[in-house]
């Protein structure tokens, strides 16, 4: 697992130049997944490009804090998520408490549309990548992030908890709610999905 967060003085011990150069070289291998993730987080190509470059620059600058032999990908994602969160905090837009029961209600589908399709039907429709991407993009950010890290990047609950800086129970509940909400979004027609948009914000 990655050692420490940015700015954590405990993790400031020095490693050799060789490992630093390896971090730089190996980090280049993760540009594509980092960019795909940045794009889903920001939902905007220019912001995603900025975010990945920022992440890369920080990875280089803090490369002596990376512990060789640990998960470099998780370490890079931690930087990416921290950087994004800092920017978002500056923008201070997320007003809804994402882990509140109210959001749970929205995600539970209990009072939702009665006739949902079967997973098979939805799967058929979602084989167009853009549809799934669009549905993911309608999720509240915390849910989208959790589902993405778990089901696309296949990080463990513990890794996600450390990356995002939340308790593991919250990670699991976000994944669960996020998946169920995504299922609903996929089962709704585009027009309905827009009408339901109020649930997400």
């Amino acid at each position: 697992m990655a050692r420490g967060r940015e700015g954590d003085p405990r993790s400031a011990d020095r490693h050799g130049e060789a490992s630093r150069d390896t971090v730089a070289a190996r980090a280049l291998e993760f540009l594509e997944p980092l960019y795909a993730t940045a794009l889903r987080l920001t939902r905007n190509a220019a912001d995603a490009e900025d975010l990945v470059q920022d992440t890369f620059v920080k990875a280089l600058r803090f490369s002596d804090r990376f512990t060789p032999g640990t998960n470099l990908k998780a370490w890079l994602y931690t930087i990416l998520l921290n950087t994004w969160r800092n920017r978002r905090r500056d923008a201070a837009r997320e007003a809804v408490d994402i882990d509140s029961p109210r959001v749970e209600e929205a995600a539970s589908g209990g009072e939702g549309p009665a006739a949902l399709d079967t997973p098979e039907q939805i799967l058929l429709r979602a084989t167009v990548r853009d549809d799934l991407q669009a549905a993911l993009d309608t999720l509240p950010e915390a849910f989208r992030e959790a589902v993405w890290l778990r089901d696309v990047e296949e990080f463990t609950y513990a890794e996600i908890a450390e990356m995002v800086g939340i308790p593991i129970g919250t990670v699991m509940s976000r994944i669960s709610r996020g998946r169920r909400l995504l299922y609903e979004r996929l089962s709704l027609s585009r027009g309905q999905a827009d009408a339901e948009g109020r649930l997400t914000r």
Binding site: G7, R20, E49, R61, G109, G110, V152, S176
Partner: protein
């Protein structure tokens, strides 16, 4: 209706769907799901979405990088490798920076742009020059209005610049401007047409570095300083003599 059983099930639902519960708990959850239709529906939905996303994961991540991003990162990595070698400035000037978590982009741009070599600077800007013209100025047939470009740079990015306008006497046509990513900051990139050739003016705000004139990747980069800014004019070597246009831009830019 949510009772305690439902709540306990909800807490374990993602682990259940991910098949990560110990066998005993897995059976507990299953028992509840068999008895409770709403929870069963939730589990079906959750595992359905999980299957769909995982099925499509490779396509969701199969997204090409924006042009130039990899090149920029590679250049940064090379530069970092050089700076990490026993060097005069990396430990002295960059070490205090690493202690600061919130980074002031302007300052970083300043330090990076100040310390990187002319060659790296010229190569980077030449790459941006080619990229921006290819993707952003391809279809700009008419001249751009300098005042409007200035307003755009001001309102969109907060840059206060005087943009040299088109000048038929000097053979210079303003095509437009955009923001270019540079190191971990960004900088204004003003695009011109001179005699049918693409010419770029980059402005590094708050950066001072000595004047230089060099050729990189088939392009000439002329670097000069005025006020607290460094300007870099980039044009293809094949464009031939650019003396008149270059002098005009240099006198106008501020």
């Amino acid at each position: 209706m949510m009772n305690d059983d439902c709540r306990r099930t909800a807490e374990r639902l993602s682990s259940y769907v991910d098949n990560e519960l110990p066998a005993g708990e897995q059976a507990d959850v299953e028992r509840h799901l068999n008895a409770c239709p709403p929870c069963r529906t939730a589990a079906t939905h959750e595992s359905g979405a999980r299957a769909i996303v995982r099925e499509q994961a490779h396509r969701l991540t199969d997204i090409p990088l924006p042009p130039g991003l990899r090149t920029r990162c590679e250049a940064l990595a090379r530069e970092h490798a050089q700076a990490s070698a026993p060097s005069v400035f990396s430990s002295r000037r960059f070490a205090p920076l690493t202690a600061v978590m919130t980074l002031v982009v302007g300052f970083l741009l300043f330090s990076l742009a100040t310390h990187r070599s002319d060659t790296v600077l010229a190569a980077q800007l030449t790459a941006d020059h080619a990229k921006c013209f290819r993707f952003f100025a391809k279809n700009a047939s008419s001249d751009a209005d300098a005042r409007r470009v200035e307003q755009m740079l001001q309102t969109d990015y907060g840059w206060d610049l005087h943009v040299p306008p088109s000048s038929s006497a000097n053979g210079v046509r303003l095509r437009g401007a955009r923001r270019c990513l540079y190191a971990d900051g960004s900088l204004p990139h003003i695009m011109y047409d001179v005699g049918g050739h693409d010419v770029s003016l980059f402005v590094l705000d708050g950066v001072t570095r000595p004047a230089a004139d060099l050729v990189s990747l088939g392009h000439r980069s002329r670097i000069w300083m005025a006020g607290r800014r460094t300007y870099v004019l980039v044009w293809p070597v094949a464009a031939g003599d650019m003396t008149v246009a270059a002098r005009y831009v240099r006198e106008e830019a501020r």
